[in-house]
């Protein structure tokens, strides 16, 4: 560390003295805007790692249009105003060609005005609620229709009749459940078979569906009892958008109440292989996940990706990087895909100009990623494959079903009409 600081101090002073005029022309600056400290670090550091790996892979193969990628890594520190400040800095001072970053919706919302004002380009890689389409953001993320509705299709095909909606109280679960409510009604599921409760406005219109618990909630006794009652007639399932840590007490209580994946399966939209590292895998065996990538996908592209990343980790000298027990998951792959799609778009546009790159992305570019082929759409989202997986004791998923080429639609609310 000492040497690093010393040498970069030396470099910094050298840069000052040469008045920054002699900047190498054969590199292109790319921003990495994730939280490396604070509450989100546990998830977001993995994305920083995969991005650095991808850059190295691309650089080794000759770079982008002959230019080597020069990453500018900043720490958003799970602090949303700091995210906005760092975004401004990346765009205004570092003049990055593109930025890969953000995990939470609130961090994206905090940098969105910055990217729009400064005409930047941001790739956003994490499942989200939709209801947004910024001209300056490309969402490699799963839209609601690429996670929530396929999982419901799977349950319906397996004869499930009753659906209990449960989530953490923030915008992603709220939107997902509202869309799901409409979707379930359109599939002929009666309102009485949708659990978790509804909230109506003065006119009687449902404005919120499902049960919500705050972040860090630990007491799921009552809710699990309610679910148990709900499952009484059989053929029931739970759709969970619970976030992070709250999954631990929920699944503990769920197992303690005698509920199992056989009697009432739970599909969780926010638990991927990476989150599994912090969860009691045993209590989750047999429960379901739904993503556009699982590490267990058997394909040459995926094998190359996983092996490449593991080999890179071994020799990586990024300070503080975790080398043991690393897995790959959907947000990581969507980050990886994002970098390649950006590279292909730059080469198609023959320019690093964000506006031209975005136009190239809108024209439809396909990339064969670890999760199969992804294709960019005009609406800044991706067409990709969706997988339903069953969790195993080792924290991996057994793939049960694949949906091919699912279109990414951010504005789903209000599109499904009840029968």
């Amino acid at each position: 560390m000492k040497r690093r600081i010393f040498s970069s101090l030396l470099l910094a002073s050298a840069a000052v003295f040469t008045a920054a005029g002699a900047k190498a022309e054969d590199t292109v600056k790319v921003g990495v805007l994730h939280s490396l400290s604070g509450t989100m670090a546990i998830s977001e550091t993995s994305l920083r790692d995969i991005l650095l790996y991808t850059f190295d892979e691309i650089n080794a193969a000759g770079g982008v249009m002959g230019k080597k990628i020069e990453p500018v890594v900043v720490d958003g520190a799970s602090n949303w105003p700091l995210f906005a400040e760092k975004a401004k800095q990346l765009l205004e001072q570092d003049k990055v060609a593109v930025t890969f970053g953000c995990w939470t919706s609130v961090s994206r919302k905090s940098v969105l005005p910055v990217f729009e004002e400064k005409k930047g380009l941001l790739f956003y890689p994490v499942q989200y609620e939709g209801e947004e389409m910024s001209p300056n953001i490309f969402y490699t993320a799963e839209a609601v229709g690429q996670q929530a509705t396929p999982a419901v299709d799977y349950f319906l095909a397996n004869g499930k009749k009753k659906f209990y909606l449960l989530g953490s109280d923030y915008v992603y679960p709220q939107t997902t459940n509202l869309v799901l409510l409409e979707y379930l009604l359109s599939k002929g599921v009666p309102l009485a078979n949708i659990g978790g409760g509804f909230k109506k406005d003065e006119s009687g219109k449902i404005i919120s569906a499902g049960k919500y618990t705050p972040f860090g909630h630990t007491d799921y006794q009552q809710i699990v009892a309610e679910i148990k009652q709900f499952t009484a007639g059989g053929k029931a399932c739970v759709i969970s958008t619970l976030n992070g840590d709250t999954n631990v007490p929920f699944f503990k209580e769920y197992a303690a109440a005698g509920l199992t994946a056989e009697t009432c399966p739970v599909v969780s939209y926010s638990i991927s292989e990476d989150e599994f590292r912090g969860l009691p895998a045993k209590q989750l065996v047999g429960q379901l996940g739904c993503w556009t990538y699982f590490q267990s996908i058997k394909s040459p592209a995926n094998k190359k990706f996983i092996d490449g990343f593991q080999a890179w980790l071994k020799k990586s000298d990024v300070p503080g990087i975790v080398k043991e027990g690393r897995v790959t998951c959907s947000p990581m792959v969507l980050s990886y895909n994002g970098v390649y799609l950006w590279k292909m778009a730059v080469e198609k546009a023959k320019s690093f100009d964000p506006e031209k790159v975005m136009a190239a992305l809108e024209s439809g570019i396909s990339f064969d990623g670890p999760g199969g082929k992804v294709t960019t759409q005009k609406n800044h989202h991706l067409t990709k494959n969706v997988f339903i997986g069953e969790s195993k004791a080792d924290g991996q998923f057994k793939i049960l079903k694949e949906f091919k080429d699912v279109y990414g639609e951010p504005f789903l609310k209000g599109t499904f009409k009840a029968k």
Binding site: L82, Q89, V106, Q174, K199, S208
Partner: protein, 371 residues
């Protein structure tokens, strides 16, 4: 004791505020420094206001409040409500309602939101709501003679409770995402360099006013009692003063100051949400005071600005190490600079004097002088 500023202080503050209020904006307008730098400094100055509010409680009255981030955020929310309504139809849903209300299925504006179309009303609420909350909380706390660490814990609990409340979507305050995507304020385009420059100037001026007001407060008889409360509350009580009322007044004033800082913070950073309302942020403000020098008024300003410059620089230059860099700096300051940056010249002078007196002996680090 009766003059507002000594000659030396006057020159010092004059120079500092001349740089902040004249040199920096002019440099930005003539493109010597970029708008981003000025905008970031605007944020620092808002933090400086928050730090002053912590300092007049902690440094001058001996009350360590860990709830100042709450008042800061409340002020921000009141301003945020006005800003959300000023977006008009430019939002995602092209509706008159703020986006998150449309998203929650509302078709008309909730009654409590309606008056916030008026800027003066929002301004009034920035002062009134945090002030009122501080008055009620302070009245109950000080009447029960809660002090020391118990007061700190209570303010911390209050902050945490408020954050949980604001996280809920039912609160109609934007839930976890809070308010973002602001466009205009008083007809000013918030995304233009000109708009940001005006906000910066407003922040600088407000900081100057708050600074002078607090300075004036400390030289009055009131300020004397304030410090007496800090040093020996029992004596103050036996001298016939109602310590509780004094503390209550300071608490309310400090909370309003924090809220004013928050009010200007929101349009400059472009977001306000409940995660600002936490103990960590209150504690950070305490650290700024400690680093700058508590019990002085210029100390918190210097502390807030310098720590945040360090943070801005390190999160970019050493994203993996910046927490350690910051942490080590704080430890060093606490161990070797008990009076903070402001106390450093005196400390060095003391050190030199001692070396002069005993040239034969090796210099030693002066022992900590409790402020």
């Amino acid at each position: 004791m009766n003059t507002l500023l000594t000659k030396r202080e006057g020159i010092g503050f004059g120079v500092v505020f001349f740089i902040l209020l004249v040199v920096m904006p002019v440099a930005e307008a003539t493109k010597l420094i970029d708008p981003f730098t000025l905008n970031t400094w605007g944020k620092y100055l808002c933090y400086a206001i928050l730090a002053i509010s912590v300092d007049i409680l902690w440094g001058y009255t001996g009350l360590l409040s860990l709830g100042q981030a709450l008042f800061f955020t409340l002020g921000g929310y009141m301003m945020g409500m006005h800003l959300m309504l000023m977006i008009g139809k430019l939002g995602q849903y092209k509706s008159d309602l703020p986006d998150f209300l449309v998203f929650l299925g509302h078709t008309s504006l909730p009654t409590i939101w309606k008056p916030f179309y008026s800027f003066p009303f929002a301004l009034l609420m920035v002062i009134l709501l945090p002030g009122l909350l501080a008055a009620v909380f302070g009245f109950l706390a000080f009447r029960s003679r809660i002090k020391g660490v118990y007061f700190s814990i209570l303010t911390q609990a209050l902050t945490y409770g408020a954050a949980l409340l604001f996280f809920q979507n039912d609160m109609l305050m934007g839930g976890n995402n809070g308010f973002t995507d602001f466009r205009t304020l008083l007809g000013m385009d918030l995304r233009s360099p000109g708009g940001q420059r005006s906000l910066y100037l407003a922040t600088g001026l407000l900081l100057l006013c708050i600074f002078l007001f607090c300075k004036w407060l400390t030289i009055t008889k009131f300020g004397l009692i304030q410090r007496a409360v800090r040093d020996s509350e029992t004596r103050v009580l036996f001298s016939g003063y109602s310590a509780a009322n004094f503390k209550l007044f300071v608490f309310v004033v400090a909370s309003v100051i924090a809220a004013l800082g928050g009010m200007l913070f929101v349009p400059q950073v472009g977001i306000i949400n409940p995660s600002e309302m936490n103990t960590e942020h209150s504690l950070e403000a305490v650290v700024w005071c400690a680093v700058g020098g508590r019990g002085t008024l210029i100390g918190p300003i210097i502390g807030a600005v310098s720590v945040n410059i360090l943070k801005s620089w390190a999160t970019r230059a050493y994203p993996d190490w910046w927490l350690i860099i910051l942490g080590v700096t704080f430890i060093l300051v606490v161990l070797f600079m008990p009076r903070g940056i402001v106390g450093l010249p005196d400390q060095i002078k003391g050190l030199l004097n001692r070396m002069k007196r005993k040239p034969s002996e090796t210099a030693e680090i002066p022992t900590a002088i409790a402020p």
